[in-house]
């Protein structure tokens, strides 16, 4: 790769990273997988970079890659027995200020309590797991195609055309799936529960 392309690629990595990771979580990945997926996606994109670096198609291409990576992982591994192998941070029952909700995932801003948990020692781990869990429950009401459209179009804010390209469906399908999915989500009581989940 030419130095200037290399620079452009690196810039793209920097700039797209948070959104890619969030998208992976919203698409169903668990927190620790989300970063791997984002990374695998970007690594995959490197090889074809000269072909996709035209600004118009780039995002569609990258998110298509993300979906494919996710799909590969999902097909072969954790999707089949989908349970949280990284359990939400256990809440100390005796801890003050958390009135008796043992099932409630950990709360943000309480980073102190999981410092010694080996690989999950990152201060944000508990919050990530909690958020991901809440997101997955909320989006579970949607079919996978509907969820993919919502994530790419609504959250990542790809254009309708980019979303269509990333998903390999016609733009009209994006539009109709999105409106249906948003309506469905708006009517979803489950979302109300989320408010308690994080803040």
């Amino acid at each position: 790769m030419e130095p200037e392309d290399e620079k452009a690629y690196a810039d793209y990595v920097e700039q797209s990273w948070p959104t890619l990771v969030r998208a992976a979580v919203f698409l169903g990945a668990r927190p620790h997988e989300a970063e791997e997926l984002a990374q695998a996606t970007l690594v995959r994109c490197y090889t074809g970079w000269d072909r996709v670096s035209s600004a118009d198609d780039r995002d569609a291409y990258v998110y298509r890659m993300l979906l494919n990576c996710l799909r590969d992982v999902r097909r072969t591994r954790w999707w089949k027995d989908r349970q949280y192998d990284v359990p939400p941070e256990p809440v100390d029952p005796g801890q003050p200020g958390q009135p008796g909700q043992p099932g409630q995932p950990g709360q943000p801003g309480q980073h102190g309590q999981h410092g010694q948990h080996g690989q999950h020692g990152h201060p944000d781990t508990a919050e990530r797991i909690a958020v991901a869990d809440a997101v997955h429950r909320a989006l579970a009401a949607l079919s996978k195609p509907a969820r993919d459209v919502v994530v790419l179009r609504y959250f990542v804010q790809l254009t309708e055309r980019q979303t269509a390209e990333a998903l390999g469906v016609p733009p009209g399908t994006v539009k109709s799936r999105l409106s249906r999915a948003l309506a469905h989500l708006a009517a979803n009581d489950h979302l109300l529960d989320l408010s308690g989940g994080t803040k």
Partner: protein
Amino acid sequence: MTDLERLWDDYPTDPAPTRAILAAAHGRPRARRRLLVRPLLSAGVVTALAGAFVTGVFVSGGGDGGGDGGSPGAGPGGGGDLPRHVAFQADLAPAKSCADLLRAYVDRGLDQVGPWGWGMPDLKVYESSLSALSMKRDAAATPGTVRQNSSDTGTNVQETGVDEPDTVKTDGTLLAVVRGDELTTYDVTGSSTRRLGSLRLPGVADAEILLSGDTLVAVGADDGHRDTGTRVVTVSLADPTQPSVSDQVAYDARLVSARQHGSAIRIVLASPLPDLDFVSPGRHRTTRQALAENRRIVERSTIDDWLPTMAVDDGKATDLLDCGDVAVPSDAIAVGTTSVVGFAADAPAKVDAIALAGQTDIAYESADHLYLATSGNAFVDCIRCPYQAGPLLGRRNLGTSYLFDFALDGVRATHVASGQVEGVIRDRWSMDEAGGVLRVAVAPSSETGPFNAIVTFARDAQDLVERGRLDHLGRNEELQSVRWFDDLALLVTYRQVDPLYSVDLTDTAHPRLIGGLKVPGFSAYLHPLGKSRMIGVGEGPDGRGGWGARIGLFYVRDVRHVRLVNAISYGSDSQALAGGDPRTFTWLPSHRTILTVVERWAGDRRVGYLSVLRLAGGRLHEHRMAVEYGDDVDLVRAVPMPDGRVVLVTGEKAQFFEL
């Protein structure tokens, strides 16, 4: 949504591990096919990854010479074969033996297996089994603007004389409706419709039906295996008050298309990569070991793993195909199996089946030919190139669509020619055959300029040879719809306005652009009413700052100067379903009226309207009524009867509709 939005914003992310990603990217072998790179845990793994690549080299084995698997040319072998129809009469040769065929599958499979199993992205990610049937957005085709009428069974189809499945069928006296798996028959000879009988179709989901005499053929997903199975159920309507199941055939392959020519039914089935018992790396197995083991698993696969089966009346599954009825196409086509299965409506268990050992996503049938095509989607190929950049680098066929032409004779299909075109074929509506010439509307890919094109093909011995082309249609615009006539094509592309191009196909060697019209919005479905007028169903600005469904009346008498006469706007957040499913569009020439379904979201409620468009005084006059809600909106059909009356079918009812 606001809660989800907040969760989106709140999700903590670390800074991008840019250096690690760059290192991993550099470590990628640029000239070696490889498998899914899956960095394990952020930064620390990069070296391990590089290691995996190095070890990846030992894998290279079967890539180079063996690629083409099915040795071309009939060859001397195959002794003792019974005389049989030669299903492959062009460049493709059937496999000489099951061992040969398996070798071809395994060779190609090895290119795609990784430590976690199949590493190649599967292309038809979200295509549900019926979505190919329930056609996509993009529009339709017919002669020079010549009137397009519904099929004999009341369905608005692509090709005159080739019937397509739908949820409603009629022979003029009897109306059959399927809703999910519930079949209901109605007598439509009286002054009002009368319900006759019903039947739950066994083992089938989201069925659609075809009608041949008093045999009804339901085709749908196999209930037990919706994503991977197809079920055909035939029903005798000899006594329409008591429809009864005659035969059932289950296939372990996904339905791509179903068509009816007279009493011959033809289905195209797709079998993707087989579900082998792959291992994954873990505590007891390194990535390298898992890869080696998965490769062994592929090598040990049997021909039964790769070829589809059929089961009659839920009996034992048997092979759908003889190995000698499967041909191996170019290895640029994703490995898998596409089967072409023909049968008579009254004998679904007696099939004539041949197959390609590759995945083709698109099937278009003219009156006497079937064309299978790979879409040539640039993404697909670009996703492959990181893996296959090695041996395939020089001939990776990025963005090229492959075409396979089969001659049809009753239930039998014979491969007669192959071809290819640079660019993307969006779907079956992008193809049309007239006078022995195949015309294809091609969207841009990595191998073309940033424009759409029309390419014509003629059969020359075993090849589909490019005969003419017209490039530079809708530069940087997206192809929305095409309507084909014998000597004319009308194309709609879109970016901000709707250029409607007229292409003269009188001389297929030299397609000529003869006109263009730009109006706001675009038409996703074009329906010619006759020589002078055409309807465009699509979307556009609603005139009040919003965006929604729009139906326009075009004057096409002089195709060099197409004019928009008037347009009906349905308000923001509305959508005309005919853009995605032309079967929701009904043209009633005797009433000079169009019935079509428009949906609108009212809060979280989906409301389906029947829009009645009357053509009078050279203009469209519209009124509409809410006829259905929720998912059942998809079931709304206006079915024309031979006597000029119309039955409106909804989720619950089928009643005459007073015009």
